[in-house]
Structures are given as C-alpha cells and as structure tokens.
Symmetry: C2
Subunit: 208 residues, 2 copies
Amino acid sequence: MTMTRIPAVERRSALVAAALRVVAERGVAQATTRAIVAEAGMSLASFHYAFASRDELMAELIRHVVAREGAAILGDAEHTEPAPLRRILREGLQRYVDHLTSDPLREKAMLELTQWALRSPSMQPLARLQYERYHALAAEALGSAAARSGTLWLHPLPDLARLLVSLTDGLTIAWLVDNDEGATTALIDLAADTLAALGRPAEESPHR
Amino acid sequence: MTMTRIPAVERRSALVAAALRVVAERGVAQATTRAIVAEAGMSLASFHYAFASRDELMAELIRHVVAREGAAILGDAEHTEPAPLRRILREGLQRYVDHLTSDPLREKAMLELTQWALRSPSMQPLARLQYERYHALAAEALGSAAARSGTLWLHPLPDLARLLVSLTDGLTIAWLVDNDEGATTALIDLAADTLAALGRPAEESPHR
DNA sequence: GTCTATAAAGTGATAGAC
DNA sequence: GTCTATCACTTTATAGAC
C-alpha cells in the first residue's frame, strides 16, 4: 500500500509542473496546496515534505517559467536569410499572437504570477527578474532582426526592447479580454509599421 | 448602542469605496469581506444586508471604477490651442505616467480587477466593458489630438486607440515591476515619436 | 436595520503511525 | 519517505436577538 519512494528533487519539479497547470487552468487564487497535490497525484503531506510552504513553491514556479521562457516566441533562430525589417517584425509578432491564441491560459498565468509577485515584497525581485528576461529576449530579437535586414536602429536597443515588451503585454491583455482577432491583427500590422520606422537602412557593404 | 440607520444605497457605495481602498492597498485576494467592512467601519452582517455576496460587490466595484475612469488621464479638455501632434501625444503620455507614479496602487488595482474578472465567466463582460471604455477614451483623445494639431490619421481611429491602450497597459506593468523612471520616460518619448508618424498634416484651410 | 454569534466549508501546515 | 488524521485558523454567509 505504500507508495514508491521518489527523490525530493523529482517531487519538487512534479509539483511545480502541476502547479503551473493549476494556475493556468484555474488561476493563482485557486492554486491551493490541495488542488496542486491532487493534480500531481500526491498526498498533502508529500507537498510539505518537498516544500516548506506554498510561497516557496510559488517562488520556484516563477523561477521555472522565467528560465524556460521565450525560446520560440519572438526570436526564431531558424530564419537567417535577409528580409525587410518590417516583414521580420510582422512575422515575429504574428508568431507571438499564434502562441497566445493557441494557449491563452499560459499567458494569463504569466500575467497573474507577475501580479501575485508584485503583492509581496519578498517576491518582487522575481517579477523583476522575469521582466529583465523579457527585455533581454526582446533586445536579442530586435538585434537579430536588424542584422538580418541590414538595418541600423536609431534608438538604444534597451529602449526599443521595452517598447516591444510593453506592446506585447498590452496586446495580450486586450486579446484576453475581448478575443478580437481582427483588431489584434490590425494592431500588430500597425506595430510592425511603427517599429520598422525606428530603423534606417545601414550603409552598403556592411563590413568594409 | 445601536448604530444609526443608513440607507442601503449609501451603504453600498460606502462599501464599494472601502473595497477599492482595500484592493489597492492589499490586492484583490486580500480584499475579504472582513477587511472591507473593517475599512468601512461596519459589521460583517451589514455587508450582507447591502450585498448578497462578495462577488456582487466586486462586480459593482468594477462597474464603479469603469464609470468614473479616465476623466483626467489621457485626454485633457483644457488645452485646445494648436500644437504639434508629437508634443500633444508626449504630454498626454506624460500625464498618464504622472498619474501612474503618483498613485501606483490604483493602477495595480485596475489590472488586478481585470484579471479577476477574466477568471469568472459571469464577470468577463465587465472586463470587456472596461476595455471598451478604455478604447473609447483613447480614440477620443487621439481624435482631439489630431484636430488640435491639424493632423489626419492614416489609420482607423479604433486601431490607433487599441495601440495606445496596449502601449499604456504594457508601460504600466513594466513600471510597476521595476520602477524605472528613466526607461519609462524614454519609452513615452519613443511612443510619441512612433505614434506621431502615423499621422500626416491635413490640407491647409481645414474647412474650405 | 443592525448587531453578536455561529454555522459550514475552506485553508496551510503538522503529528505521528507505518 | 509517505501516508492518514487533525490542528488552528480564515473564509463567506446566515440565524436570531434586539
């Protein structure tokens, strides 16, 4: 009748994965320890064997989602052939919207986790970490877009990155609220236009 | 020893006001009926005399904040003398940032209320209403900015409004996370530039 | 109408058997 | 290490005295 012995680290990651599913499906507020262990198929006591508290799990959950974030979102290392800046941006944004619409609960969860972290002073650094990562990913995507299109950005990359992240965050909220696909498509068209206007073609013969 | 008799409508609005303060100060999750009645100086039973449930109060709270929203945010009916579009936009965005930094908890509360509403099917229409209002306010502000600057927008006003709202939403989250004033200033500079590029000077003699 | 008291159903966390 | 059972507490909501 006794369950098999599972290393603590495995239990921890299983609980983190279960917690992410529960948060996505039902929200942070409903992600109780009981709901999480039920999702993970464990007993309540096992939870507290692996984690000292619910907050400790939530902190690990945020670290987890931040770490595995964004591989395939805005940037896409596959495409490297030259293309116009506007088209690269448009495709990157479309890729993000596709990601959002195909799994909206995931992005809803990310937003909720950020705001949950903002309510507790000890968790605030985690939210900060999360957005530093977003900004870094956006800067990287914009940098490679410039290289691919032979463009020179007319503004500091960090500023442009913050603009892009703010735009996608806002886009996400608006879509989660009204599910308006047409308006979202128009929005990323507009956004790609305006962002592309912030770059200028670099000199010819880029390396001499 | 008996408390004075207070009309139900007054109790309701007093509770809504108290709830808004509690949500701003401690977050939606901590806005329990007990915390709210304590803030309002009432007994718990009085709460349930005025409202059937906590959800009913929360719904009324959202309706309340949506209704009284945005009078003095982006648009500003005082200024009507002509000015360049870019400057009008820059000042409007700065006004929003001033509002945000002077009372960050209020904007944090608005974001939390939206996401709370998104978790319950019956409340989702309220979030929708909230964003319809945002978009309408933004469209109005952009329309009057165009008139004041003698500009013609090159894209449909609703699309531009959605862009502006998304931008300010994202800007808000980023600032709430890292409190980076310099980055926010750079962001609204950039945003004003890019938005202004979406308009063209109208023909001279605007009415003949 | 307004109160105190309490019901009924959660919650995070722990004790202690195995 | 893993379980069941339970503690101590909080939550929303209601009964019933006044």
